[in-house]
Symmetry: C2
Subunit: 132 residues, 2 copies
């Protein structure tokens, strides 16, 4: 029974910069600091040691775990991506739409931020759910 530790971990609340790093790791999988820093620098200027420090802190907080077997440490995200995203999404829905998912979708569909493809995909998804 490891329910306790799981609920503890799911309380991840990454800061803005931490989220940037998570995004890289989610997209590219376990990476070195160098790699992450390069990716970040595609978007904005940030010193190597800053990224290092940040990732070290995230490792302390158990958001990341690192493989120290090689000199060049490799970091990976501890928590399951979907789980974390779901958690953050829920927080967002609670804060912005009083917990109402449909309100969010209304907003999503209601103004230009969705493409026709998006709408189609969502419709298909709903149909699938219906069949169950």
């Amino acid at each position: 029974m490891k329910a306790a530790s799981e609920t503890e971990n799911s309380k991840i609340e990454p800061t803005k910069s931490e989220l940037e790093i998570l995004q890289v790791l989610w997209e590219y999988g376990p990476s070195s600091v160098r790699f992450v820093n390069d990716k970040l620098n595609e978007r904005r200027e940030i010193n190597y040691t800053s990224t290092l420090k940040l990732m070290q802190i995230m490792a302390e907080k158990k958001i990341l775990k690192r493989d120290e077997s090689a000199v060049k440490h490799i970091y990976h995200v501890t928590e399951n991506e979907e789980k974390t995203k779901h958690h953050l999404l829920k927080k967002f829905v609670d804060a912005m739409y009083n917990g109402s998912a449909s309100k969010l979708v209304v907003q999503l569909l209601g103004n230009g931020s969705t493409t026709k493809e998006d709408v189609e995909e969502i419709r298909n998804l709903l149909n699938k759910i219906n069949e169950e």
Copy 2:
């Protein structure tokens, strides 16, 4: 032509605490500091002058505007609620789902965070869109 000032304003990026205040103002409309502070204190302890300061700062940043005609100042949100929420939602989708709205909906529907009613409402919404 006031397009310029409008786009400027839409770059609102409220901090965590600022968002708490926005939530109160969105829900209850223009309010005094006292009222907002009371609402906040239903959730967590926060000193009156802290809330005051925060709202003053938000007024400086033009997130809020205040009516000083009475001694007790009344604050209201400058920017349209929907517009701001849309902006924040877009940022969220970009950061978390690479800009893909349908991915977000997948997640929303994919795990217990939606009720049957939510799903129904979303379906109706889609049907409406279809008819157009």
